[in-house]
Amino acid sequence: MSCQTVREQFDHRLDGRLSGHEQAAFEVHLAGCADCRREWEAYASAWQVLARDEGIEPSFGFAERTLRRLNEPRVDIRQWWWRPSIRWATLATTVVALAVTARVGHERMLNKRHAELYARVQQGEYLEDYDVIANLDQLKGGNHE
């Protein structure tokens, strides 16, 4: 068993997930490899020493005091602007604002296009077309002849 394999098994060994055969091979390797043994001892003892923190006990009457809090108003730790009513109002305002902006923008664009078209007509860009239309009767008459 290689050092790499043994070190990859450290977690399984700590959590008791090695089979009997795997654990035996693990122990044999450690017995013959000082580096892995040192590494394993440091790894395992840091985990085992955590048990020295025995924890605290709740103070006397904890359950009763908790039950008295059941009817307390909810503590809303969120920012005021994240409350549902404010969020919905903000969303509605945003949708209305976007709709109005889109509508106004569309109207402006149409007006601009009309104005541009009118200006081009005024400048005579369509003069040839007007001449054709003005002479249409003559052209038609010419064809009849």
Binding site: D53, T66, L67, R74
Partner: protein, 193 residues
């Protein structure tokens, strides 16, 4: 009836508004919850306040509890969310209690009950106290969710699968979190083991 089964039975009664059932659940799990929170935030008085909030939340969310889920997994999920909310609140209002993270209050002087320990000589007791403080610090310094994974695995004995459910990640991600946490603890506790 197993302990887990009766937790579910109690929760079904809590769902109907039975506060006696809630009291039973509190008495059964208060120590687990308060220590999980205390190990994460490091302040005994706040840990007790937050533990009360966890059980109030259990009561208020009882209607959403599905008996298919193991009660303790659900309880730890609420506990973790409460801790995360507290960290968010502290980051928004750092002056309120963040100093407790760096300088934990002496549990005994604050009136919190420590488990009985046999009296040792003062020098040995001082070494023990220093070791316990260093352990608490090392765990608190771990990034979330490594810290939660360590607390649930080492102190509460949850399986990888249960931890994964509380953390909302895969079992392989949980194993990876624990491995990184153990490597970090090995470095942080070097010289204390």
């Amino acid at each position: 009836m197993t302990s887990s089964d009766s937790d579910v039975a109690l929760m079904l009664r809590v769902r109907e508004g039975d506060t006696d059932a809630l009291r039973e659940l509190i008495e059964r799990h208060q120590r687990t919850v308060i220590n999980t929170i205390h190990r994460a935030i490091g302040d005994a008085s706040e840990a007790e306040d937050l533990t009360q909030r966890v059980f109030v939340q259990v009561y208020r969310s009882a209607k959403r509890y599905k008996p298919t889920a193991k009660f303790t997994t659900w309880l730890f999920t609420i506990t973790r969310n409460t801790i995360l909310n507290e960290h968010r609140r502290r980051s928004r209002h750092p002056s309120e209690s963040l100093d407790a993270l760096q300088e934990p209050r002496d549990s005994e002087s604050a009136g919190w009950q420590l488990p009985d320990t046999t009296m040792r000589d003062p020098a040995q007791e001082a070494v023990e106290r220093e070791l316990r403080e260093r352990i608490k610090e090392a765990v608190r310094e771990l990034p979330e969710p490594q810290r939660t994974a360590v607390i649930l695995c080492r102190y509460e004995g949850l399986s990888y699968e249960e931890i994964a459910e509380v953390l909302g990640c895969s079992v392989s991600a949980t194993k990876s979190l624990l491995h990184r946490a153990r490597l970090a603890l090995k470095d942080k506790l070097r010289g204390y083991c």
